[in-house]
Amino acid sequence: MVGDTILEVRDLHTHFFLRRGVVKVVDGVSFSLRRGEVLGLVGESACGKSVTALSLLRLLPQPAARTVGGEVLLDGENLLTKSSREMRRIRGRKIAMILQDPQTSLNPVFTIGDQLCESIAKHHPGKAATVLERAIEALRRVKLAAPEQRMHQYPHQLSGGMKQRVVGAIAISCTPQVMIADEPTTALDVTIQLQYLKLLKELQQDTDMAILFITHDFGVVAKMCDRVAVMYAGRIVESGPVRQVFDNPAHPYTQALIASVPKMRQRVGRLYSIDGQPPEFSALPDGCRFAPRCPLADARCHTTYPLSVAVGSAHTADCWKPGKSV
Amino acid sequence: MRNLPWTAVGIIVTMLFVAVCAPVLAPHSPTDQSLAEKLLPPVWEEGGSTRYLLGTDVFGRDMLSRLLYGARVSMIVSALALLVGGGVGLVIGIVSGYVGGRLDSVLMRIVDAALAFPAILFALLLAVTMGQGLRTLIIAISLLLWARFARVVRGEVLALKERDFVALARVHGCSPARIMATHILPNVMNTFMVLTTLYVGVVIVAEASLSFLGAGVPPPTPSWGLMAAEGRGKIASAWWISIMPGIAITLVVLAFNLFGDWLRDRLDPKLRQL
C-alpha cells in the first residue's frame, strides 16, 4: 500500500572538503519516498549512494564531509536544521539503517541483547522487562530461531546471515517510518541473499514502512523495489517506476546497467560491460557526466549538462538523447 | 619529499656528520683528564671558561669533546646492532615465513618467548658473564631487536608468498633458497628500511641505559649514558654533566622517530601499529 510522502529530499548537496580541494560527492540529488514504498537507489560503487544515505541521517564522516545545501523533509520536518539532540531522537526511532557488512556492524564485545536493548531503551524507556520483551519480539520478527538464547550470545557466535538478521531486528525494533538498506545482501552468501530480501519485503509490508534500498544490482531492484532512481557521479540521472525503467530505460547509463545483469536462459556469448571508469569526483566533466563513456555522446553532451525530460508518467531522465538505444 | 620533517633530518645529518668528524671537530681529547680544571661550568655560567665551552666533568674532561665523541659511540653501536640484530631477524623472518610448516611454528614460538621476556635482563647478564665491552653491547642489543624484526618481516613474507611472481618462479624450478634471495628479499627491503629507522631511537636509548647501569661500553669511553651516570652524584653542583648528554639523546631519538614515522607513512603505511 503506497500512501502519502514520508521522506522528501530536495536538491541535496554534500561536499567533501579535502586537502586537495572540494569534492562534490552528492551534487543536487532529489527524490521522494512514500509510505509503504520501496525506492531503489542504484549505481556503481562510489557514485554517492552511501553518502546520500548518511547525509539523510547526518552521520557523514567528520570533519571532511558536510551537507552544504538542500532539504531533507521527514514527515514535513527538515532534518538538516535539527539540533544534534533532536537528530538523536530521530535516528533509530524514525529512520533506521542496515549496513552492508554484518561481520563488522555489530560490536564484538557486547551481547546481541545488549546491543538490541540499548536502542529500544533509548527511544522507548520503560521497565527492563518491557524492553527485553520488545527486543525478543524484534528478533522473532526477523525469524531468528531461539531468540531468547540469542540475546545472551555474542556476535562471533552467529553466522553472517544471522548477524544481518540481528541488524535488521535493531532497525525495526523501534518501528521506524523509513528504513535505509545500504547493500544489505552484498556481503552475504548467495544462498541466503534471497531469503534476506524476502524477509525485508515481508517486514516492509507488515509495518507499512518505506525503504530506501541502495544497491548496485539491477536484478535486486527488480525483485524489491516499486520505484528506482539511478545515480551516476553524484547525480540522479534517471528515475521512475521499476517496470517502466526496466522496459524503457531512457538514459544510456541505465541501459548499460540493465544490460549488464546476467539473464537466465539467454544465450549471449559474453556479458555486457561498460567501458571505462566513472569520472573522478575531483575532475567532473562540464557536460553530461556519462558522456566520456557514452557511445551516443556528441559535442553538446560534452559541454552542457542535459535537462531533465519526462519520458513517461513519473519517469524522467537527464539526457539529451533519451530513449535512444545504445 | 612532501611533509619531510626538515628539523629531524637536520638533526640526523648533524649527528652523522659529528659522528664521522668527531676527531676534527673536538677541541680536546675526550679522555684526557685535567683534575685541576674539573667541574668547570659551561661558558655562559659564572666561572665558565671559553676553553671549555660546555664545561668539564668530574675528571676535568671537556664536555663538548665527550659529547661529540659520544655521537660516534651511539652511531657505531646503532649501526652494528641494527646490522646484526636486524639482519638475523630479517633472515629468520624470511625463512620462517617462506618455509612455513613446523619450522615456522617453532621459530615463532621462540620469537614470542623472546618478546615476552625483558631483553634488558639478558643484556645485564651478558655484561656480567662476558664482561663489559662493545661486543657484549652489540650482542645484548641484538637480542632485543631480532625477534621484533623477525615477526614483522615474516608477516610481510607470508603475503608475498601468495603473489604470482613467486608462484611463477617456483613453476620455473627455482630453488627455495634462490627464490628467497632474489624474489622475497628485495621485496621486504622497504619494510626492513622502515623498521631499521624506527628502531634507531630504541637502540640509542638502550645503549645509553645499559651504559648508565654499568653494563654498556666501559669507561672512559665517552658514551652519553655513561656521562649521565657519572654526573648523577653531582647534580646539585654540576648539573651540566648529566643534563647535557640527556638533551643530546632526546633530540637525536626524537629526530629518528619523526623521520621513521615519515618514512613508514611513505613506504609502508600498514606498519602503523608499531
Binding site: 535516528r91 539503517m97 | 618478546l115 615476552a116 654499568g214 619523526l258
Partner: protein, 306 residues
C-alpha cells in the same frame, strides 16, 4: 576459557624453563663458574665446597639437574655481595617495588586512557596536539635522564620534593612520574591509534544510527575495544616496565628489586643477578597470567572460544 588460561600458563612455564636454561648456560659456559659465583678472595675450601654442592666437576646435564632441583626447592644460591640466600634478599626488596607499582599503573591508566580516547575523538584539536607532543617526548626521553632532570628541577632548584630513598607520600611522586611517563606515552599512542580505527568502524556507525549519544558511543562501544590492543601488546610494555623499574630505582636510590638488579651488575654478583632474573621471570609470569585473564574478561571471542 579454561583451556585458554591453561595454554597461557603452560606457555609461561615454558618461558620460565627457557629463561632458567639460558641463565644456567651463560653462567657455565662463558668462563669459570666458580669464579663467577664466589668472591675473588674466596678460600680454597669454599671453592671445593661449591664444586661439590653444585657438581661442577660433573657433566653439564647433571649440573643442570642439581641447579633445577635446588631452584625448585627455592634455593637460587648465595649472593656474593650480601652474603645470604638470593631468594631471601629478593623477598626483602620486593615489597618496596610493589609499593611503587600500583601508583604507576594507576597514573598510567588514569592519564593514558582518557587522553588517548579524547585525542582520537577530537583529532587535531589542542588536547590531541598536547598529548601527542607528550607522547613523542615521553618515548624519546630515556627514563634515567628524565629521573635526573626531575631531581634537578624539583629537588635541587625548587626544593619541593625529596630526591631519593623511600619515605612518605612525597617520596613517591618523582619515581612514579619517571616510571609512569614511558607507560603513559606508550599506552596513549596505542589507545589513540586503535580508537581512530574503532571510530571508523561499522559498529560505531551503527551505534550512531541507533541514535545513541556520543558519550555512550565513545565510552561504552569504543573503550573496551580500544583496550584490547593494549592487553595484546602487554609483553612490550612489560619489558619497558622492568627496564624502567631498574633505571628509576637506581636513579632514586629506591631499595627495591630494580635497584637490587643494578647492584648485582655493578658488583658483578652473578649468583644474585641469576636469582633476580629467575625470580623476575616468575613474577612476570604471574602478571602476564593476570593480564591474560583480564583480556579474556574484556574480549568474549577469547572468553568463549573452546
Amino acid at each position: 576459557m579454561r583451556r585458554y588460561i591453561l595454554r597461557r600458563l603452560f606457555q609461561g612455564l615454558m618461558l620460565l624453563v627457557l629463561v632458567a636454561m639460558i641463565v644456567f648456560f651463560l653462567g657455565r659456559l662463558t668462563g669459570n663458574p666458580v669464579d663467577l659465583m664466589l668472591p675473588e678472595d674466596a678460600l680454597e675450601e669454599d671453592r671445593k665446597a661449591l664444586i661439590e654442592t653444585l657438581g661442577l666437576d660433573g657433566p653439564l646435564h647433571q649440573q643442570f639437574a642439581i641447579f633445577a632441583a635446588n631452584a625448585l626447592r627455592g634455593d637460587l644460591g648465595d649472593s656474593i655481595r650480601f652474603r645470604g640466600p638470593v631468594v631471601d634478599i629478593y623477598f626483602t626488596r620486593l615489597p618496596n617495588t610493589l609499593m611503587m607499582l600500583p601508583g604507576v599503573m594507576a597514573v598510567a591508566l588514569v592519564l593514558a586512557i582518557p587522553l588517548g580516547i579524547l585525542s582520537a575523538v577530537h583529532r587535531g584539536n589542542i588536547i590531541d596536539k598536547v598529548s601527542g607532543t607528550i607522547a613523542v617526548l615521553g618515548i624519546a626521553t630515556p627514563n634515567f635522564w628524565l629521573g635526573i632532570l626531575l631531581i634537578f628541577v624539583f629537588s635541587v632548584q625548587l626544593g619541593w620534593l625529596p630526591s631519593s630513598r623511600m619515605g612518605g607520600f612525597e617520596h613517591y611522586i618523582l619515581p612514579t612520574v619517571t616510571l609512569g611517563t614511558f607507560l603513559v606515552a606508550g599506552f596513549m599512542r596505542l589507545i589513540r591509534s586503535s580508537m581512530l580505527e574503532i571510530l571508523d568502524s561499522e559498529f560505531v556507525k551503527l551505534a550512531r544510527i541507533k541514535g545513541l549519544s556520543e558519550t555512550i558511543v565513545v565510552w561504552k562501544h569504543c573503550l573496551r575495544n580500544a583496550l584490547i590492543p593494549v592487553l595484546t601488546l602487554w609483553g612490550v610494555f612489560m619489558g619497558g616496565l622492568v627496564t624502567g623499574a631498574i633505571v628509576t630505582e637506581t636513579v632514586f636510590a629506591w631499595p627495591g628489586v630494580g635497584r637490587l638488579t643494578y647492584e648485582a651488575v655493578i658488583f658483578r654478583d652473578f649468583p644474585l643477578l641469576q636469582g633476580v632474573i629467575i625470580m623476575d621471570a616468575v613474577f612476570i609470569l604471574l602478571i602476564n597470567l593476570f593480564v591474560d585473564i583480564l583480556y579474556a574478561y574484556i574480549d568474549p571471542r577469547i572468553r568463549l572460544a573452546d
